[in-house]
Symmetry: C2
Subunit: 309 residues, 2 copies
């Protein structure tokens, strides 16, 4: 596959760095990496699709919470959930998806894995993004779709490593990104095996399975799921730093940080830190470490397929 | 692929049940299952390769323990480890691999993932089975290798779900079974991310990541790793019962239990329970549930490739 595969990437340092890296690791020479070790890990929210004005999964949770609350009054009385339901967007932003999953699960067993996936698929089929007026599944970044195909055609194995819920992303990973569900890594709830009327069932338990998939949790969960740290890692927030740093420990690696600097076509985060834990933005951290920063505004010819030029 | 693919299986009920099941789920009709859901899960020790006189991984651990003990005297003083080192095979059998991993890890950080894999690969290259006098990697069951290929050619995704260590099995899964490492599910140690001399490293932590992969742990870890319960599940011990039962909850499924009844070519377990938790053997449980029991003696034309007829 030629570099024309990256048609939505404008010529520039980011595109050239990607092409040169892929060439070095996939062709015989001093930096050659065997296909088995040629692993790329992509963060999801804000890296593969739009995460504003709130995480898509959070929009799903909010839309589904009212149903849940009718059955469990204690849910409505929880101050965090109450604030969120009253439309307090700041309250949503303060809660991580992991924290939210634990909070909601603490009120009783949730749906079975099959029921949960069906519920997400159903919601995604009708929910519409408040600004762009299209389905959330239309808000995948076209340059990233091309990059995924380019990497695959160059012998890479691609994993998604999301701070969001693993089961939420599994619903869309194969169709949107061509990533099989066993290559999706994310924040996961525990299950318990229960016997019910002679049948064995999985009940969601009110705790996480493994660490929340952000920060240090990303390399730990990558090791648990696929057993290999990536040589190419892509993120857009401070929660991705450790995943990128761990990739950086490989002999030759490429660490890419997406800079959301395009208010016209997507959003401009304006250097704000993505979490409350740090005052330094992910883009500043990336520059300090010499990683490749991808400017949405300058490096991408197109952002979404539905408004491609 | 025709049924000739199962050349090491003798004609009989087990072989015919497998072929008929695969035909039903992979051809249009009332029992058709989409390829995405056509998942098969294989236990490892005693199902894909020989597990006697002790788990291969346990032999590796014992061979490597002496090195470890020189550095950590407290290890040698632990009564369990002391008993094992004195050649007390009963002591080995009483300890599960999960328990052993936790015990050994409690004495300090182990090797990095890369170091561990290299150590296992090196050991497998020279270690020899005490009875058969061949490398352990020669002791894969030929009928199972054929079954794996047959299932794959029929559109199945194959996962290994082992009570043993996930990192141990990953070393051999691709080469011996054609199973990618992200489709290996097993008992896993936790890691911690540490900063050392400016580098980020993964340190083994003295605790398990997720539940030990036996009993209820199998369906739970299958959900966490690949997000789909199998429609075809194969095991040989009481630790596999829950995995097989969960497969049995699918609309159409096949549950296979290997009966080690061939003292001449492999081992005859003689109906002994595989664990101390139950007095009923896995084969008895399987018969009671109407599952298909595979007799090594009667259903397999060959056991190992190296002594095929």
């Amino acid at each position: 596959m030629s570099e024309e595969a990256l048609a939505s990437w404008r010529d520039g340092a980011a595109k050239q760095t990607i092409i040169e890296f892929v060439r070095q690791v996939s062709t015989p020479g001093p930096h050659y990496v065997s296909p088995a070790e040629r692993v790329a890990a992509f963060d999801h929210d804000g890296t593969l699709w739009c995460e504003k004005p709130m995480y898509v999964q959070m929009a799903y949770i909010l839309d589904n919470m009212k149903e849940r609350i009718e059955g469990i009054p204690a849910l409505a009385e929880n101050p965090t959930i109450r604030g969120i339901l009253l439309g307090n967007l700041a309250a949503v932003r303060r809660v991580s998806i992991a924290g939210f999953l634990e909070l909601v699960s603490s009120f009783g067993p949730g749906p079975s894995p099959d029921e949960y996936e069906a519920s997400v698929a159903q919601w995604l089929a009708y929910a519409v993004h408040p600004r762009f007026g299209v389905a959330y599944t239309q808000l995948v970044y076209q340059p990233m779709i091309e990059l995924l195909a380019y990497l695959r055609s160059s012998g890479f194995k691609v994993a998604i490593c999301t701070g969001g819920g693993i089961e939420f992303v599994r619903v869309i990973a194969e169709e949107l990104y061509g990533v099989a569900r066993e290559c999706v890594i994310g924040t996961a709830m525990s299950y318990a095996v229960k016997e019910r009327s002679g049948h064995l069932v999985l009940d969601r338990a009110p705790s996480l399975y493994g660490p929340a998939n952000e920060g240090n949790g990303k390399p730990i969960n990558i090791q648990a799921h696929i057993g290999r740290q990536p040589i190419l890692a892509l993120g857009n927030s401070t929660g991705d730093i450790e995943m990128l740093r761990m990739a950086g420990e490989r002999p030759l690696s490429l660490c890419l940080m997406i800079n959301h600097d395009d208010a016209a076509r997507e959003y401009a985060y304006e250097g704000r830190a993505a979490t409350v834990k740090t005052t330094e933005s992910a883009v500043t951290m990336a520059r300090r470490r010499g990683w490749t920063v991808v400017s949405m505004k300058n490096d991408w010819q197109n952002v979404f397929a539905f408004n491609s030029s």
